[in-house]
């Protein structure tokens, strides 16, 4: 059984249909990259999986739970799926450590001491153990994004959704974040990531999804997709993003 099962998902914003029937299964431990032009619907798809957008048709199942707009169910889902954002979205009024501790404490009712231990372990895991007491505005973009990853990991999710997590970073900071994601992949974390980093997608991912105009246009192992694109749209897309 797939961990994430997306069936005929449709989503519209007003008259604009952004997702026109998406079918995609992601197995546990699989690393799946979603590529495509801006406006192709890839971020929307990711946000639907986490219930940040409500879908207009079809269904999404995560570990057997339906993604619905009902509050209780939505929270149960979000305990299973973590999300990393393009703009980090760290809580600016809390230190890095407190950012990681907050949700375990208020949602899982974890005692402070235990949450602190957990937060230190998670920050160590992303190489920021020494930044426990730093506030977000004292950290570089790359460090902030790594704290955001630690924060999501602290909830012990079954899968992580990464929404263009390196797009807001200066080029020299991209690699430190990708290195952390690469380690997660190697540890067997299930990942769905929208990305523009083609080389990284090629090295790390099990499968690549190319989205075009609200549909999955091509899907397959990275070597196949990148070396032998079958459609002119993918060929053109890869051509325009080649370094």
């Amino acid at each position: 059984m797939p961990l994430i099962a997306i069936t005929d998902v449709r989503k519209r914003f007003g008259a604009n249909e952004v997702l026109k029937g998406i079918d995609l299964d992601v197995a546990a431990g699989e690393v799946c990259a979603i590529i495509g032009r801006s406006g192709s619907g890839k971020s929307t798809l990711l946000r639907c999986v986490n219930g940040l957008e409500t879908i207009d048709g079809g269904s999404i199942l995560v570990a057997g739970t339906h993604v619905s707009s009902e509050d209780q169910q939505l929270r149960a889902l979000r305990l299973k799926v973590g999300m990393i954002f393009q703009q980090f979205n760290l809580f600016p009024h809390l230190t890095a450590g407190r950012n990681v501790m907050l949700s375990p404490m208020v949602v899982r009712k974890m005692p402070v001491g235990e949450a602190e231990d957990l937060a230190r372990r998670m920050l160590d895991r992303v190489g920021l153990g020494q930044k426990f007491d730093a506030y977000p505005d004292q950290l570089s973009g790359g460090q902030q994004q790594r704290v955001a990853i630690a924060r999501a990991l602290a909830m012990q999710p079954l899968a992580l959704l990464c929404d263009e997590i390196t797009s807001a970073l200066d080029p020299e900071l991209v690699n430190e974040v990708l290195a952390v994601v690469g380690e997660l992949a190697a540890d067997g974390m299930t990942l769905m990531m929208v990305t523009h980093e083609m080389r990284f997608a090629r090295q790390v991912c099990d499968r690549v999804v190319f989205m075009h105009q609200g549909r999955i246009h091509e899907i397959g192992p990275p070597d196949e997709l990148f070396s032998a694109p079958r459609t002119p749209e993918l060929r053109q897309f890869l051509g325009s993003t080649a370094h």
Binding site: G51, D71, L74, R78, F85, L90, F91, S103, Y135
Partner: protein, 219 residues
């Protein structure tokens, strides 16, 4: 006619100013609590409380405070309750303050980027947890300067209660004017006392705002 020295006038005004301060404090604290309630309704997801809050705010921001005072004064006497001026004054000012503070605070809540809601939601937090741990702590910080600034409006607003017969600084000014026939001096002194009450609040509000906009805000 009794002879009033400037000192006599000032002393009487100062005594009356205590009531201005007290009424301002009551209106501000009561209005703050009621305003919090209106704020929660205004930002609620259900349409019914939201619409109620919207109507409440529109009514109190879209009509003169003086009319609200008249209506509070006469509405309850109509039910047979003999409304003392202080009660009508307190009631109208509390509701009026609540409407304005709720709207100021809503602006602060909405100034928090959407990403903060999304990040906390994706960490599994519910609405109240998001509000309590993520949104309000940030909104509160930016809410302090405009809230202090609005307290100036509350102090000045209490002047209108003189019209329905509550004896505070403005009413005392009118009464002393009628006894001394020195309107120029008396009203200048009344204005000066209001200024002494309000100006520090204005300055504090501006100072807090500047500090908020300075870098390294969390220390």
């Amino acid at each position: 006619m009794i002879e009033f020295s400037t000192w006599d006038i000032l002393r009487n005004l100062l005594l009356a100013a205590r009531w201005t301060v007290l009424l301002s404090a009551v209106a501000f604290l009561g209005g703050g609590l009621a305003g919090l309630l209106v704020l929660v309704m205004r930002t609620a997801r259900r349409p019914l409380p939201r619409r109620f809050a919207l109507g409440f705010i529109e009514l109190f921001q879209g009509t003169p405070l003086l009319m609200q005072l008249f209506l509070a004064f006469f509405a309850l006497s109509l039910v047979g309750i003999n409304m003392p001026p202080w009660l009508a004054a307190g009631l109208a000012l509390v509701l009026w303050t609540a409407a304005f503070l709720a709207e100021i605070w809503r602006g602060c809540v909405e100034a928090i980027p959407r990403g903060q809601w999304e990040a906390s939601a994706s960490l599994g937090m519910g609405y109240l947890e998001q509000m309590r741990h993520v949104i309000l702590p940030q909104a509160l910080r930016i809410a302090v300067p405009p809230t202090v600034g609005f307290s100036v409006q509350v102090v000045k607003g209490t002047a209108l209660t003189s019209i329905i017969g509550f004896v505070e600084l403005s009413k005392a000014g009118t009464m002393i004017t009628n006894a001394t026939f020195q309107p120029f001096t008396v009203y200048a002194l009344v204005a000066l006392l209001y200024f002494v009450l309000c100006w520090p609040l204005s300055v504090a509000s501006r100072f807090l705002e500047r500090r908020l906009n300075a870098p390294h805000r969390h220390h």
